[in-house]
Every structure is written in C-alpha cells, then in structure tokens.
Subunit: 421 residues, 2 copies
C-alpha cells in the first residue's frame, strides 16, 4: 500500500495518445455505422449501476466487479458488460416498445483484475442486442452482423466459431446423468480449450467404451454444415437434438447472407458468460490467440428485470482490434496541417486566413508571440528548409511537430503573405 | 439502505435513448472536429486514477470524489475532470514532446452528489488544454476556440464572460490586507453571484468610504474593452494592474479573431476551480441559468506532476448543451429506413438486396420468420396502407416502428419483389 508516484496510473488502465485515439475512433465510428445500417439504434447507460440489480445479473464473477458505495451506503458497481444494463433499459424506459428491439452500443467496461501482465481493468466494447426474437433467423442475423462489423473495423482474416450450450448440456446429461461435478469439470476443460485435459479427465471416469468414444468424438465436431449431420447421430437426447437443429437452421440463413466462408461450427464451444442459454459464438482473427468478438443467446436474463423475453447479441472487443490492425491499416488520408506565423501587425490577416482554412477542413495552428526574434528565426529557417525540399517527407518541422504547409504574416518587416511551399 | 428495485439505476445517473444519443454524438463529433481544425489532438485517459495523485490535484472537493479501493487496498477515484489527468499524461507519456502541446478530449466525469433534484453524478465534457504557453495570445486562442466550439455544437446565442483571478486577489490584498477570512467571504459571494450579499458583507467591514466605494465599484465592472481602462484606475496594486493589462492584450487578440460580439469582461468573476491562477471564463447561453462552458489558466498544476509549465484550457458541458438545443436543431437529414419482409424461398434474394441497400447508406431491417401467416397479413396491410398514401407522414408502421419504405420477397405464393411505395 505504498503511495503512488505522481506520474503513475492504476494497474491495468491505459492512456490513449492521439495516434491511438484516431484509430480507436475510426473503428468505433465505422462499426457503429455498420450496426446502424442494420437498423440497430445506439443507446448509452451510466458507468455505475446498483450491485443488487445489474451487478448480480451480469455474467462477471463477483470478485471481478469494481464496487463502491454511494452517499446512502448502497453498493454500486462499475458496469462489467452492457448486456445487463440494456436488459434493465428494455424492461424500464423502453417497456412500451414492441419486440423485436434492436440496440447498439460503444462503451467502456470494467473488470477488477489480479495483477497479471497484460490484463486490462477497463476496455472498450462495441456491440448489439436483439431482444424479443427467439428464432434461428435472429441468431443468424447477429452472427452475420458480427461478421459485417469485424469487416467494418478493418479486420480482414477471421473465423466465427459457433456452438450451442444445449448440445453439451444434453449430451452430458444423457451420458453422465447425475454426475454434475464431473460434467462441470469437463465443461471447464472445453471452456479453457484444454483438449488434452478433457481426454485425460474422460479416462478417469470409467465410462463404457461407446460412451467414452462418443464424448471423445465431440472434439472432432468442428467444421461446416456436415458437422450438424454428424452431431445429430451422436446423441439422441432431445435437448441436444433440438440444439443441433437450431444450428442447422442458422447455417441455412448464414448461407443466404453469403457469409459461410467465415463460419465454423464448433460443438466443443462453451460461451464464458453464465447467462447464455442457446447458441454462443466467438470471433478469432488470424494469428491472434484471443477472441476479438463474442456473443450468444440469453433467454433468461430479461425476466430478472421484469420483462421476460428471448434475446441474442454480441460484442466486439474494440480495444483488442486496435492492437490487431496496428499502424497504417485503414487509415484515412491525412488531414492537411498548416502552421501560420505572424507578428502583431499581421495578426488580424493571419487569424482571418486561419479561420478560412479551418472552414475548408485543414488543421491550422497559429504560432504564439511571433514577434520574438528567436522564434522568427526558427520559422524562417523552417520555411527555407521547406522551400529547399528538405525536412521529413517534404514537411515543415516546427518545435517537433510536422506541418504540411507554412504561412507567415510578418508585416513589421515589410513582408506580407510570405507563403512557403 | 433499502434494496433497489430491478428497474432502478442509482440517483444522479442517466440512460440516453437512441434519439438523445444521436444528438449527443452529433455535438461530440462536430465539436471535436472543430477542435481538430485548430490543431488540438484528442487523447483518452482511464476512468479511474489514484486518489493520491490525480484525485488530490483535481479541483473537486474531497467529498464530491467517488472513491473505491483496488485489489491492493490503494484508493482510486473516478475522474472528476480531465484537466488533472491530462497534466499527468503531459508530464509522463508526453514528457519528450515540445511545448506548446495542444490536446482535446470528450469524456464523462463524475461527482458524488447529495440527493438534490437535477444534479448529475456523471456527465460529459468536451474540451481542450493548451500547455506550455503563458501568453495572452494563448488565453485568447482558447477563448476564441470555446466560441467556435459552442457554435459547432449548435448553440447560437451566448456570451463568454472573462475575469482574472489576479485582479480580485490584488484588489482585496491591497484594501483588506491581512483580513483573509473577510476576503474569502467576499469571494464566496462573488462566486455565487450573490451581489446583494456582497454589498451587505462590505457594509459590516467598517471600511473607509473611498475603499468601500472602490469595492462596491467592481460590481459595475462588466462590459467591453472600456472596462479594462476603468479597472486600471481602480487599483494601484501591481498584481491587479498586470492582470488587467493581460485582459487588455487578450481583448486585442479576440478583436483580431473577430469574436468580440460574444465576449464580456466581468471582473467580478471567479472561476470555481481552485487551480486557476490567471484569466478565467464562463460561457452563458441565452435563457439558461447555468454556464455551458468554463475555463481558465492554471499555471501551477503541471508542477505537481513534475513538469512545471503554464497552461490554459476549457471544457464545454456537453450534456447541458444536449438539453439546450432540444429537438430538431441541427438535425442531420433522416436516414432512409427500409423494412424487408420475406419467406424462406425469398430469403436469399431478400438478404442480398438488404446488403446492397446497407452499402448505399440506408438502414435496413429484415423481418424474422415472415412465413408466419399473421405477420404476412400485417405486412400486407402495411404495404396497402403505404400504397394508399396512409400512415404517419407517408411512412409504413410495423410493430410500432416507422419505415420510409417496404420491400417484400414472398416467392412461396408466386409473388416476387413486391415493392411498395
């Protein structure tokens, strides 16, 4: 509990400098515009919510919630996702709106973290919720929109892996009836993608050979539409069967959207949110070890807020995409940056010209106190360098900042409008 | 400490529904674009900061800070402004950058509130900081940019009132030397704009008649450039005199910017942030009782973060402007909203057309499970109403949502591309 140094910020939290902000804002705007074009309307909710309502309903484990007390002594949390707050809004402010309701958001969310390297305590998500539609068509719409959103964000090579909570529940319920602890252990292995651990765990369970083969077999259930056919043979459990039929229907709709090249059915997949009740999915970018999008169906959450309704949605992990697309990818053409130097007599003309240029989309910086001899000299040499074609990629450097153009308004010395370049 | 109801959110916090978000985003984008055109680059900082660094340096009183503990037991605060976090960044991540540094932000900030009507615990600010320039020119630049930003936000009628911390400090130091308690009481009256209280307080101080007149006289020091001339006569204190000369210089620069019609010198003004050291200003919109922008010079804050530098800046109270500009003002032309209904056989054609329309900037909603007879009927009657020119302002209403156009792809019944309207 040592006192922090003045320049420090708390662990797991980041500053974003202008270059990163430009990129993050670009991803945000492009993804939100994509979601708007699919009819999803943006909402915003408070950073803080009641622990007893949204905090408890969220999928985040209790020890990962940031908690604080308000003036009345009631416990608040910093939101850990946007799904539970949106469920609250749909059940209160929007309770008169007819289903289906389509909402989008871009928001920071919070997770109290152990001090592990690289974990973030605050990060951005951009996502949608489609509330009031239980159909496979609705699930396919959010998957297709996730694909369109990742493309809008500038992610080029990625796969969406789709699974179904009901398949594993049905299969395990049938083969390991009454052995809920072992079921949870196996699910834990799958959630962590620890397939070696899963096989080892299976061997310790003394299962009959056909059951053992069946449960090992699901590790191979990854691929295209053919996986659905295979899975229908694997389990006769009613829940498992209807889950697979739901995924088959989704596949047909995704085929109509023309996006199956990005889709993979992966029946070992378990969403990491406890509120998922149906299909779940994750988006993986090429060469990246962690998902850049995740989503699923949560048909039981809304009733916790008093308006029972099926719902499905996803979130893109915007901050991770920022790391992924790196420098250069999808950059807008650079704005013209103009430096205007002036002395007192040239001031009015300089500031008028600055305003004219700003109105025409350029970024203009006017220099302070240009009557100081030293600065005048600096500016003149910068101008000379620019005229001579010197400077970094033809730019004018002034006080460490690169400009595309330099204009001067020095009238005290008989000069005027000495534009360089 | 009663348990909150499921639909409740904590006091002082707001949800923003789509219509409000559209407006808020529009103000945000237009103001940030304006700031960018003046060469200010956007940064983002974390929601949480250390209490001992940024928390203590911020101008917010201790009991108005939201505090929480991290896993190590260190006290964190939710940021109460962006000025102190930016001072931290300029002194750490940006410590190699040459002055002046121009930064902008759009951010939510937090204030723990008593449960007063209408007070907000979280609200948005859009602002700039100009660090490393002590000149009147720099102060005039931020005032001129505040004016340009308010215009960009859609505020049409407003005044910026400019004062100077040094004038009142100098005047009171000269006339009420050693009576710091009385000085603070008088400043408190001015801060609250309680001019009656100020006069009453003066009368209780048993001052000599000329001094009494002098201190009453400042209440009349509101107006244009002529106020500077009058104020120079009022006090011979060196601090007061140099403060007034600084305001005179600012006025000259603001005249060159051509914005004096929006500016008022008001020497009774005291900024409500304790870190202000020089000129301070507030922006008042017509017919509104509270400021929509505030700013000032804070030359002592940066040294608390280890990189002493003069600085000046302002913040627009974005959320208040949202209330101010109301409905309709500055709205973008409405996006075309198209509803596409289809049955299973028409699905592929419908979804392909939806994608084409989304690419051409329309918002398109495709209807779920259109083979249900009831929904088919609803859609057909909506189409019929649209064809007959009925419906709200020529729009198609479907499930409570208005669309500008309806397209159907029902091929099972031998119809295709039955576009209405």
């Amino acid at each position: 509990m040592s006192k922090p140094k003045v320049f420090e910020k708390p662990i797991g939290l980041k500053d974003y400098l202008p270059h990163a902000v430009t990129k993050l804002r670009q991803i945000e705007n492009q993804v939100l515009a994509c979601m708007a074009s699919w009819g999803y309307e943006q909402i915003m909710t408070p950073t803080m919510e009641y622990y007893d309502t949204v905090g408890v309903a969220s999928a985040t484990s209790d020890q990962k919630l940031f908690k604080l007390l308000n003036n009345r002594g009631t416990t608040l949390v910093l939101r850990s996702d946007m799904t539970a707050p949106i469920a609250r809004v749909v059940s209160s402010l929007l309770k008169e709106s007819q289903f289906p309701v389509r909402l989008s958001y871009h928001s920071n969310v919070f997770r109290a973290i152990e001090e592990e390297a690289g974990r973030e305590a605050e990060f951005f998500q951009t996502g949608v919720e489609l509330v009031g539609d239980a159909s496979a068509e609705a699930d396919a719409e959010v998957v297709a929109l996730a694909i369109a959103s990742l493309k809008a964000a500038g992610v080029e090579r990625f796969k969406i892996a789709i699974g179904h909570v009901g398949f594993l529940n049905g299969l395990f319920g049938e083969t390991l009836a009454g052995r809920s602890e072992e079921q949870e252990e196996l699910k834990g292995c799958l959630l962590g993608r620890d397939y070696v651990g899963y096989r080892e765990k299976l061997r310790t369970l003394s299962l009959e050979a056909p059951v053992q083969r069946e449960l090992e077999g699901i590790l191979r259930l990854r691929g295209g539409q053919e996986i659905c056919e295979q899975a229908l043979q694997l389990s006769s459990d009613a829940t498992a069967q209807s889950s697979i039929r739901h995924l088959c229907e989704m596949w047909d709709v995704l085929a109509a959207y023309g996006v199956c090249e990005h889709v993979l059915i992966d029946l070992t997949m378990i969403g990491d949110f406890q509120y998922y009740t149906g299909m779940t999915f994750e988006g993986y970018a090429a060469d990246l070890g962690f998902p850049v999008a995740s989503g699923g169906r949560y048909d039981n959450l809304l009733k916790q807020f008093g308006r029972p309704a099926p719902a499905t949605g996803f979130a893109i992990k915007t901050t991770r995409i920022l790391e992924l697309i790196g420098d250069g990818a999808g950059d807008k053409p650079e704005q013209e940056r103009i430096l205007i130097g002036y002395d007192v007599s040239g001031r009015a003309a300089a500031l008028t010209e600055a305003q004219r240029l700003r109105d025409s989309e350029a970024a203009v910086i006017v220099t302070e106190k240009m009557d100081a001899a030293a600065q005048l000299t600096a500016l003149r040499s910068a101008a000379a360098a620019a005229n001579a074609g010197a400077g970094e990629s033809g730019k004018v450097l002034y006080k460490g900042v690169a400009f595309t153009k330099l204009l001067t308004f020095f009238t005290d010395n008989g000069e005027q409008d000495g534009a360089a370049k």
